[in-house]
């Protein structure tokens, strides 16, 4: 069911939601950006509509609610392991179409990869619902249309929010509310009932082509070399990505006698040193170029080979955050070009061989 609301009614709706849910939403943090006097949009808990950044795509992903940067798995005390309780009060997450597509990727890895669903992920996931923020226009670095993630998957959200100008010129909010329990909360505050289709973009300035096939020769291609000079292996591109899921186990102990400690898992980045280190000094993918190759191929090829669809949702966050101005979309396009060139060369060789025969 869809509704139109005035701003006051909408504020009341968010207030009422805050009474039932912890609201996890993008928030503009003034002056907290990477550079002096810059702002950043990060996720945080809010209790009112006015705290939420509705118009700019967040710089950081929503995923920390499901996969915290650091998560205690259990404590060690005197030979006992104790799993700490989680905050399992219900959460409502405000996010965009690409993010809901990213959620499918998180679920894929945490719930469907391997023999069983992830215990720690599930115990939070089961308490999280989703509210779609419509996208009337494309934002910085986005290429969601190329990745097919510009539209929220069917059934992926419980309510949507779009801001439009009403016929009287006053700002209006349109909400699509498929969840009956939430519709009951919205309906009394609405000015009208009507069909609502959340806004989505149909074209981005940035476009990418993903390679259908990647020949093994691409591993040795010189397209990766430029990153050796440019990438500083800081891993920010992974930490902001809504589809990155990797973590590293870490044990710590706090008392001098070593009696009390904990095991954590912390977010990991395949761009950062140590990701592949094994005992005896073994390490795979030593250079930034190798790591970039691994990351790009995983996002637009290897994940697809395993799970049937591409991992990257084209949100553009990795490009926006990179301190070295490395453009992820450009990297994907260079890969696609190189693959096409390899394929053309292979065909030419074959035809040449055929002509000689």
């Amino acid at each position: 069911m869809g509704y139109a609301l005035g701003m006051d009614g909408f504020r009341e709706v968010v207030g009422a939601l805050a009474g039932q849910y912890r609201l996890w939403a993008p928030v503009l943090k003034v002056g907290e950006g990477r550079f002096t006097d810059t702002d950043v949009v990060r996720y945080d808990f809010v209790t009112s509509a006015d705290e939420i950044e509705w118009h700019t795509r967040s710089d950081y992903a929503f995923k920390e609610i499901l996969t915290p940067l650091s998560q205690t798995l259990f404590y060690f005390t005197d030979g006992q392991t104790t799993v700490p309780p989680a905050d399992t009060r219900d959460v409502l997450v405000f996010l965009r179409a690409c993010d809901l597509c990213a959620l499918r990727r998180l679920d894929q890895v945490y719930q469907q990869s391997g023999p069983r669903s992830d215990w720690f992920y599930d115990r939070i996931r089961d308490h999280v619902r989703f509210a779609l923020i419509g996208c009337p226009e494309s934002q910085e670095d986005c290429f969601c249309v190329s990745m097919g993630s510009n539209v929220a998957p069917a059934g992926s959200y419980d309510l949507s929010v779009d801001f439009v100008a009403g016929t009287d010129g006053e700002p209006q909010v349109l909400m699509d509310v498929p969840a009956a329990d939430l519709a009951a909360l919205v309906a009394p505050r609405a000015t009208a009932e009507r069909d609502v289709e959340p806004a989505h973009v149909t074209e981005n300035e940035t476009k990418v082509t993903v390679p259908a096939e990647v020949p093994n020769s691409i591993y040795k291609s010189d397209i990766w070399a430029e990153y050796n000079a440019r990438c500083i292996e800081c891993g920010r591109c992974n930490f902001v990505c809504p589809t990155c899921t990797c973590y590293t186990m870490q044990d710590v102990f706090y008392t001098d006698n070593g009696k009390v400690g904990e095991r954590r898992r912390v977010a990991a980045s395949c761009m950062v040193d140590g990701y592949t280190n094994v005992a005896g000094g073994g390490q795979y993918r030593r250079t930034a170029g190798d790591r970039m190759r691994f990351k790009v191929l995983h996002k637009v090829y290897d994940f697809r080979r395993r799970f049937g669809y591409d991992m990257c949702v084209g949100c553009g966050r990795c490009t926006t955050v990179c301190p070295e101005y490395i453009n992820f979309a450009a990297a994907v396009n260079k890969l696609a070009d190189a693959c096409a060139a390899e394929a053309a060369a292979a065909t030419a060789t074959k035809e040449g061989a055929g002509a000689n025969a």
Binding site: P85, A279, D290
Partner: protein, 295 residues
């Protein structure tokens, strides 16, 4: 609902199931409600091969096969993936461990018979030993690489045509040899070639890399012979080159890959190579698949 069970005591080891999974690769049955919580396992015995390499026999009653691995925890130090080097069904597993760092160091220094370490697993596909019982087989193992194939070698040493089973085992030096008792048994049962990379003056055994012995393998039909190769990456690379040159078919060669692994369950991502998770699809791979797994 997992969230209701916020506090758990350590998980319990699984009971023995009558059916050992054989053909399907992938981890065996689920043990605990929360697979990240390891269970305490008592150290039943410790065999010291060298100062740096010990075999720890640990209580374990569940299903497991050679080539699979466990995550061994030393609380507050961390976890380490370790291959199963021996199995006594329903009672114990052997883990042969080299002391190289934080977890393994603490295990060597602080733990003795009767103490408990924490375990979770087994993980990975492991070897299907039944595949190697018939026909000509070559097993090549280097150093701690013997651990994952020890069960395979044991199995083929009891096969009907054990004379057609050739095992090349290499260590750095005579002092680095592991599984001496097993080596003696295997030497009696099958064609064992034991070699060391280097040895002090007067050493009477074979000296040379494992690859040196490939050309002289007395295979009647290399095209149908099967091979298993496990060891450090360069050793595996050159051994496979040698076996292919001898005429073995790519699809008849298996190897075991090692990668950093934090979970063993297809979640943490560290073990990925291309589309593969080494912890799920491996660590044992057929060469046809593994030759296209590029890092």
């Amino acid at each position: 609902m997992p969230s209701e069970k916020s506090v758990l005591v350590p998980g319990v080891a699984p009971a023995v199931s009558p059916e050992v999974p054989r053909m399907t690769p992938g981890p065996a049955a689920v043990q605990t409600d929360n697979p990240y919580v390891p269970w305490p396992a008592r150290i039943l015995e410790i065999v010291s091969h060298t100062a740096r390499e010990h075999t720890f026999r640990l209580e374990f009653a569940g299903d497991v096969r050679p080539g699979q691995f466990f995550e061994v925890s030393i609380p507050k130090y961390g976890e380490a993936p370790i291959s199963v080097s021996g199995i006594e069904p329903g009672r114990s597993v052997d883990l042969t461990i080299r002391n190289v760092g934080r977890v393994t160091g603490e295990l060597f220094e602080g733990y003795g018979v009767g103490d408990q370490v924490l375990l979770r697993g087994p993980y990975g596909n492991g070897f299907d030993t039944s595949m190697f019982m018939d026909g000509e087989v070559v097993v090549m193992a280097g150093g701690t690489g013997v651990s994952p194939v020890r069960g395979v070698i044991d199995a083929i040493s009891h096969s009907a045509d054990a004379k057609d089973k050739h095992v090349i085992v290499g260590f750095r030096s005579p002092a680095d040899m592991l599984f001496r008792d097993d080596l003696a048994r295997w030497a009696d049962a099958l064609d064992l070639i034991l070699t060391v990379d280097g040895a002090p003056e007067g050493y009477e055994g074979n000296v040379g890399l494992v690859t040196k012995f490939i050309p002289d393998l007395p295979l009647r039909d290399p095209a149908t012979a099967k091979a298993v190769v496990v060891g450090p990456p360069p050793m595996m690379r050159f051994s496979i080159m040698g076996l292919l040159k001898l005429g073995l078919a790519e699809e008849n060669i298996w190897l075991s890959q090692e990668r950093k692994m934090c979970c063993g369950m297809g979640k943490c991502g560290h073990c990925r190579i291309g589309q593969h998770y080494v912890c799920l699809d491996g660590p044992v791979f057929n060469y046809v698949e593994s030759k296209d797994m590029l890092d």
